[in-house]
């Protein structure tokens, strides 16, 4: 991150995701390492019938509309899954 880049707060990203994906659950949104990018899991019913490529494109399009380039560079992989897919991993 450059000296003039504002640190992206996890709470800001969480708020943006909540507004952009109404009703979504957001899990484990954090910087796992420092330095490191913010990652997490976005669980949203309306990802159903979309493949992973389209889900990621939708996510990044929405983030890009709200964040500047410096903030975008602080975001890593945010997993995009449906509630059923998420439950399959967490309830086994």
């Amino acid at each position: 991150m450059g000296a003039t880049t504002t640190a992206l707060r996890v709470s800001k990203l969480r708020g943006l995701l909540e507004r952009s994906f109404p009703g979504a659950e957001i899990h484990a949104l954090r910087r796992e390492t420092r330095p490191g990018r913010i990652g997490g899991v976005l669980v949203w019913e309306r990802f159903r019938h979309k493949d992973q490529f389209d889900r990621q494109q939708e996510l990044w399009t929405k983030l890009k509309a709200e964040l500047d380039a410096g903030e975008m560079q602080q975001i890593g992989l945010i997993l995009t899954v449906t509630p059923d897919e998420y439950r399959a991993f967490t309830h086994q």
Binding site: E32, T33, G36, R37, G39, V41, D51, Q52, F53, Q56, Q57, W60, G76, L77, L79, T80, V81, D84, E85, Y86, A88, F89, T90, Q92
Partner: protein
Amino acid sequence: MITADTYRRAAEARVEEARALHEQEHYALAHYVAGLAVECMMYAYLCRLGLPIEKHHDLIRHCSRCRFLGFLPQDGPVTLRVRAAMGDVRARWLNNHRYRDERELLHWLQSEARLDENVAKQKRLRHSSRKIIDAAVAVVTAGRLAWERRQLP
């Protein structure tokens, strides 16, 4: 030191970088990086099991040795999707794609892999890049979600 977690984090970074490369229309490098993401995830699981990493780049052999599918929810749509995704990545990826420019990758897709023959030639690279990234995201997503499972299969 490169640990299982290092490989897993690298897989997550590489797959996001592949998507960004695709967006910038760097389709040849996007192909390579997408496959590399999957390889990193397989290495993560091999490391986790304490198995040595063999010096080849056969993703299906790595997948089989690390029992990757065994970590996933059994007999459900997720596992079916990941199994198909592994096949997609294998069909579209070679470790030496890093030496191919777009012209050479297009030639390989047409003449050697014989993929996407029904797709217009001018759209074929973009189409294949999209397919391998979609598959790589599916594999890395499953690998990440299964990572926290305590019980080994």
